[in-house]
């Protein structure tokens, strides 16, 4: 019997009645995990919270039915919802950093669910359960630990506390909303293993929400793919990952960085529409290569392909198979006597705290070196040293053999022009109160004294380079999507005609499909302008799609440095091996 059953659920914004999600139907059996994937804004969180009868302020479950363990949720009264929430169905939030109460000890936060849902049980029995559930999520359970506050735990520990809270009352269903976003791969893989084991052992049905297909492929039994508020395809894991039919699912799988290095990643141009400007007909039509006139006229009906496999696409019979294009081998660029950038024996500090230890990296002209490491490993500090934004270091950074000034202001104008830094958040470099065109022309004027029609023409060229429409010139940053903004930041950097681009986690805030497009843009640039790059990322798989050479950093030390194939096929450092193992992939 299905513990969770949704049929035709519509959730709408109260004012105006705009639908956030429409006709959502799925079932989950006990002990099974359903992965719900989709781009940002597709409505995943909205659906997952609806399972607990909760909607965000200003939204309402308009119609349909949600049953949890036989209880109807839609229209249920508060008393009924309160007895189900936390007891029968529990929620693991996206960001435990903000979802745990900063003012309460974690022991208390676990205990209170038990007290609420099992009021007749003795305190000692509850405490025993608190300790037991902490052990189940592989955390210490001593009194000292119970008395900690959330801020005294690491991100991974906080997330496991959130999971412990969810599992405390032995629920029948748990809903996990991207519970591993922001965690390091090794921590992520532990958290995933914990969730998997708990669901299997206790027969818990789980809805696992994620934008990361690779994670879902490792965890889920069944998968539902959402696009613009609808489920466009659903099926068991193999049907979705290896026999998908919907063009969106197919493209999404191709956008996934492939750590095995077989395939080239492929972006989907454009971006997912907001609820208020979703096109009529098939919402994917504007981005779909298979779209025909019928697609923009009517919403495709659900078609059953097999007992478990459903798809909503007018062309389910003949949608284009997207064959994986083999990854283009990049010939490694041999080391020369005079590298473009040399980082020699660099020790980086924050006051008395040393964060970088004896770092050596050399970048040849036209080469892309990826710098990989978990959060806090010192990647950003190193890239900021290169960009002249952090000057608390010993050692040398040389540019074509000449030592660079530590601070950007101590560097020559040409040096500043030749080395351009792109931030993780494009807001840091794009003035929000300036139209895009003027953001770029300022750069042209600053470095080349270029003005007027010459500058305008150059802006258009630059926009072409990063595949942005010219119409964007008069737009303001807040009118653009994250991917577009990031491309503006790239165009702005390119305006300086740099020899080296330092890209600091520039795709980490983007959806996979957009990330893939940005990577494509960078790759095209590399072949057309032979600009060198330092590509900083926490995503090892991603480096395979762009880098010639990889440096792996751990706690401020480079533990592995070599050509792409060398690092991936015969890693020397144990740490690299661990990263490779824990990076989720489609298998």
């Amino acid at each position: 019997m299905s513990v969770v059953k949704l049929s035709n659920v519509d959730i709408a914004i109260t004012r105006g009645g705009i639908k956030i999600v429409e006709k959502i139907s799925f079932e989950i059996q006990s002990g099974q995990i359903l992965g719900l994937v989709g781009e940002s804004g597709s409505g995943k969180t909205t659906v997952s919270m609806a399972l607990l009868g909760h909607t965000r302020k200003g939204a309402v479950i308009e119609s349909g039915s949600i049953t949890i363990d036989g209880h109807e949720i839609v229209g249920a009264d508060d008393k009924m919802l309160r007895s189900l929430r936390g007891g029968t169905i529990a929620y693991v939030p996206q960001d435990p950093g903000t979802a745990l109460n900063p003012g309460l000890r974690i022991g208390r936060q676990i205990l209170e669910s038990l007290e609420k849902h099992q009021p007749d049980v003795d305190h000692e029995v509850h405490m025993a359960r608190v300790r037991e559930v902490l052990t189940e999520v592989a955390l210490p359970s001593d009194t000292d630990f119970l008395r900690r506050y959330p801020h005294q735990l690491s991100g991974g520990q906080q997330q496991r506390v959130a999971i412990a809270i969810a599992f405390a009352c032995r629920p029948k269903v748990i809903v996990c909303d991207e519970p591993t976003t922001g965690l390091d791969v090794t921590t992520q893989s532990k958290v995933l293993a914990t969730i998997r084991a708990l669901c299997r052992e206790h027969g818990v049905a789980a809805l696992y929400v994620s934008h990361d297909l690779a994670v879902v492929s490792e965890l889920a039994d069944d998968v539902a793919v959402m696009y613009a508020g609808r489920i466009v395809e659903s099926g068991n894991r193999d049907e979705i990952f290896f026999n998908s039919i919907h063009p969106y699912t197919r493209r999404l799988i191709r956008a996934l960085p492939d750590i095995a290095g077989r395939n080239q990643i492929l972006g989907i141009s454009g971006y997912a529409p907001m609820p208020w400007d979703r096109p009529s007909g098939c919402a994917f039509a504007p981005r779909c290569a298979d779209a025909q006139s019928i697609c923009s006229q009517s919403v495709p009906e659900l078609t059953k392909i097999s007992a478990s496999h459903n798809v909503n696409c007018h062309r389910h019979k003949d949608s284009t198979k997207i064959v994986a294009t083999a990854r283009i081998e990049r010939e490694s660029i041999s080391a020369s006597a005079q590298p473009l950038l040399g980082i020699n024996n660099l020790d980086g500090f924050y006051g008395s705290r040393q964060v970088l230890f004896d770092t050596n990296i050399h970048i040849q002209p036209g080469e892309c070196v990826a710098l990989v490491g978990e959060s806090g490993s010192g990647k950003t500090t190193l890239s900021r040293c290169i960009g002249g934004l952090h000057d608390d270091y010993k050692g040398e950074i040389s540019y074509f053999g000449n030592t660079l000034g530590k601070h950007a202001l101590e560097r020559k104008k040409e040096e500043r022009r030749d080395i351009q830094y792109i931030f993780q958040s494009p807001y840091a470099s794009i003035n929000p109160r300036r139209p895009i065109g003027s953001t770029i022309t300022r750069q042209l004027e600053l470095f080349f004294g270029m003005k007027g029609s010459a500058a305008d023409a150059r802006v258009k060229e630059l926009l072409d380079l990063v595949s942005l429409p010219h119409a964007i010139i008069t737009s303001f940053p807040d009118q653009l999507s994250g991917g577009e903004r990031q491309r503006v930041a790239i165009a702005r950097a390119l305006a300086a005609e740099p020899k080296l681009l330092v890209c600091d986690e520039i795709t980490s805030a983007l959806d996979v499909s957009v990330q893939a497009s940005v990577i494509e843009t960078l790759k095209n640039l590399q072949s057309s302008t032979s600009v060198a790059m330092l590509f900083v990322t926490h995503n090892l798989a991603l480096t395979r799609s762009i880098a010639n050479r990889v440096a792996v950093m751990r706690k401020g030390t480079i533990v592995e440095y070599g050509g792409l194939d060398e690092v991936f096929n015969s890693p020397k450092a144990e740490y690299t091996n661990r990263l490779l193992q824990h990076t989720p992939t489609l298998k």
Binding site: H54, T98, T187
Partner: protein, 346 residues
């Protein structure tokens, strides 16, 4: 709350922090003595001239100069005044009949009684109003209380005082005395009726500010993710508000409460004047009129010192009510074992 206080003193680091804050207050108080002293030096002529004004005769001038050591160099004057002041000895009044301390002693107690009786009511009241308005955001209670507090906040306190007198002492009801007559030699609580109207005025002056801040802070907390999480655990709305929201909302309000209390000390001057309440406010006004410098200096210094003390208390209170800050100042080994645990996590 009790356990928090216990923790606080168990953790030596916190006690050290508190001591540090108090020690840091000392130079501020000393700086204040300099300021107060300098401010009175800036008056035209010297203290003796300004006190005696038209009645000045060479002998009387000399007598007063003698009493205040006005013929000594400035820094000697300052040191003898300041070192006495720090021992709470403010010398004799210029009338020469009593010591400043004797006049102020009783008055200060009366003023503190007035401030305490208003604070004890105003602070919990504002927290309740602010919280309830936040929980009922957009409903009738919220709208009405927003309007009322806005109006009250914009009225000067003497207007409030006059209104209170009009309503409760003279024209409409005649329940409470319009003038707080306190038998000299007794304290204000000997006659609680005399406290009612001045306290009420101060409560009406303070509550609007604090409750508005409390409301804002509470609204912010109620919209946080951990409140949503608490609801998704199935907790009752009561538990969500009282256990999860309120403590987190009060912490940022403490600084405002302290400021308001300090402000009470200033506002008290006006209110005491209206009700002829025998506190330091009325003495202050009388001695400014009489240009009796030692009293003015003493009162100014004490009000300033009260600000400093309240600020220190607010800092400590904020830390006590914010676990993140509290643990930061706790014993060192506590945090180091957190990092050990974090390493084990990887």
């Amino acid at each position: 709350m009790m356990s928090k206080i216990r923790d606080f003193f168990n953790q030596g680091g916190l006690l050290l922090f508190a001591l540090g804050r108090i020690l840091a207050g000392i130079p501020i108080i000393i700086a204040l003595t300099v300021l107060v002293f300098m401010a009175t030096q800036a008056l035209p002529g010297d203290a003796a001239v300004s006190y005696l004004a038209n009645t000045a005769t060479p002998e009387r001038l000399a007598a007063i100069r003698e009493q205040l050591n006005l013929d000594d160099p400035l820094w000697v004057q300052y040191f003898s005044w300041a070192s006495d002041a720090l021992r709470l000895d403010f010398g004799m009044t210029l009338t020469g009949e009593t010591s400043v301390s004797a006049i102020l002693g009783e008055r200060i107690q009366n003023t503190l009684i007035l401030m305490a009786s208003s604070g004890i009511i105003a602070i919990p009241l504002s927290i309740v109003i602010g919280t309830y308005a936040a929980v009922r955001r957009g409903k009738i209670f919220d709208n009405v209380s927003s309007l009322v507090t806005l109006v009250l906040a914009s009225l000067p306190e003497f207007v409030v005082a006059i209104f209170v007198v009009f309503l409760l002492a003279t024209n409409i009801f005649q329940i409470f005395p319009a003038i707080s007559f306190v038998e000299p030699g007794t304290l204000a609580w000997a006659d609680p009726m005399s406290l009612v109207l001045p306290s009420l005025t101060l409560i009406l002056a303070v509550t609007p500010y604090v409750s508005r801040i409390m409301r804002g802070s509470m609204i912010e907390v109620m919209e946080s993710e951990y409140i949503q999480m608490a609801r998704l655990k199935g907790l009752s709305e009561r538990t969500v508000i009282l256990r999860h929201a309120l403590p987190n909302a009060i912490a940022p309000t403490i600084q405002v409460i302290a400021l308001q209390l300090a402000w009470l000390a200033g506002g008290v001057v006006v209110v005491e004047a209206v009700f002829a309440y025998p506190g330091i406010g009325t003495v202050m006004i009388d001695s400014v009129k009489a240009r009796d410098l030692p009293i003015v200096q003493a009162i100014t210094l004490m009000i300033a010192a009260l600000y400093v003390v309240l600020n220190i208390l607010a800092d400590i209170g904020t830390i006590l009510s914010t676990p993140r800050l509290r643990t930061k100042h706790a014993r060192k080994n506590d945090t180091s074992d957190v990092f050990a645990a974090m390493d084990g996590d990887q």
